[in-house]
Symmetry: C2
Subunit: 299 residues, 2 copies
């Protein structure tokens, strides 16, 4: 920071896996330590070196949990016993990773208030896709995870389909969640940078495009796979996580749309690109089939 005096800082240096944080005490503590103290170090550095810099912090859409009311973007108007106030929307994280993200958000909000820093906290849905326009050569292709800890559900379903495995939604597969294409995710971060908050302001963006249930998602993967000649079956497996399967889910996403966010691709177009990339590595995925089925339990 001393060297570059940045105008904006995109903080992507967190332990990003729910599942990893739930392995045991050591992994839970590592997640807390890395995410909370790591982010506090960033906040102190901004305060001391470049207090006008805009901190873009990647949060997790999952921190809100599944309340029986609409989920606001960070703050909501509360009416309680005939008085009202604008208050932080209560979070109800479902694992230690999400908890660390909720803690981070509270710490950042406080630093904006007390030191006058400014930050955009991006509550991000599941990001998917293997291609961006910047990847003009094969050597720019990035790591693709499909194991239980670092593979998100879209990656895992595509890897399963490509390599002849059944798709394995957990439980009833009725969980609903927000998803966003990697290209649209980059668009959102660009919009945040180009439209910074005021000094002292902490703002929250809920960043996702469409909401799908896990079974709906698996059906998209099956259908796109058909275009590549794949006949994939869906096989519900017992849920090793502890989470609700049926719930009300209606999440605000107006802040980014107000700044001009326009989704550029349908999920089927992006899945098509993923199949095209992954089929080239079908055998490498097959060789690592043992990482597909979850081995940990959250109980």
């Amino acid at each position: 920071m001393k060297k570059t005096k940045p105008d904006a800082i995109i903080h992507l240096a967190e332990q990003p896996s729910s599942s990893f944080s739930m392995i045991d005490r050591e992994h839970a503590n590592y997640t807390m330590h890395n995410n909370i103290e790591g982010t506090l170090n960033v906040l102190y550095a901004i305060k001391e070196i470049c207090p006008l810099a805009h901190l873009i912090k990647l949060g997790a859409l999952g921190v809100y949990g599944t309340p029986n009311i609409d989920i606001a973007e960070g703050f909501f108007e509360v009416n309680y016993r005939n008085r009202k106030d604008l208050m932080p929307f209560p979070t109800q994280p479902g694992n230690f990773y999400q908890l660390s993200k909720a803690h981070d958000s509270e710490n950042i909000f406080f630093c904006c208030k007390i030191w006058g820093l400014c930050s955009t906290d991006i509550m991000q849905g599941v990001v998917y896709g293997t291609q961006t326009p910047e990847m003009t050569s094969n050597i720019l292709k990035t790591r693709f995870d499909f194991d239980e800890h670092f593979g998100t559900v879209v990656n895992r379903f595509c890897a399963e389909a490509v390599s002849g495995h059944k798709l394995t939604p957990y439980g009833k597969g009725t969980h609903r969640f927000g998803f966003i294409d990697i290209i649209d995710c980059n668009q959102c971060i660009t919009l945040a940078i180009e439209n910074p908050p005021n000094q002292g302001e902490y703002r929250v963006f809920n960043q996702f495009d469409e909401v799908y249930s896990i079974v709906e998602l698996s059906e998209h993967v099956v259908n796109v796979g058909n275009n590549y000649g794949l006949q994939t079956e869906i096989d519900l497996v017992p849920n090793h996580r502890l989470e609700k399967s049926d719930y009300y889910y209606n999440v605000d996403k107006t802040n980014l749309i107000k700044l001009g966010f326009t989704p550029t691709k349908t999920i089927d177009e992006t899945l098509d690109g993923m199949f095209s990339d992954l089929l080239q590595h079908k055998n490498r995925i097959k060789e690592r089939h043992e990482v597909i089925m979850p081995k940990t339990t959250w109980k």
Copy 2:
């Protein structure tokens, strides 16, 4: 835990000072590390060794901040866009210590949900008093802090009055807060132990007796000091903390009263006991007058 197989665990092993947590980055990180990971270690130990044990966790009343609505006990009924839910009351901590306490509470709530542990989270006001009935001998008297970091406001005012210093409320002295006598605090913890929550239950008690502004508190100290022949002046000093001075403040405290909580002493009776104890050490306090005025700033 393996040795004693406890029925109840009172967790008092946290870094307990707001002011200490605000010194610098190292102290902020130490507070996060000690409080969050320390408590996670306790939670994992309970899960693995004595999952039926009742965890009594000392929280801080200050984590709620000063919203413009009544402060509930941990959870409140939210009506939002024609739907409703019982949700965690949003916290708005005002320093890194309080933030660590809010983070702890969220982690404990989660462990109760996922592992079926049970816990009482005690949102405690400022505890004061130097005597309990168990202190039957001078060798059982405990440490008395009156420095800016570990001395709470009642201790500091009494130490100032006894040693001929002016009382030094910060700012306008209009901050209002909940206070409780050490004997009544012990009564509350006893009530929590004797009336444990159900397995899987996480409950919150707001634990305080009376609410005073800092200037009201200083007036009580001056008046009780008069009985000991002390003529003490009140001298408002600039506030080195960043906090609101005027706010709505109405905090629920019904859970402990339902269990039978009855305050046993007025604040003036307890202050009388403190003066009686402290006057014996008047010169030792005078010798350490340099620790009274705050040296750190929260900016």
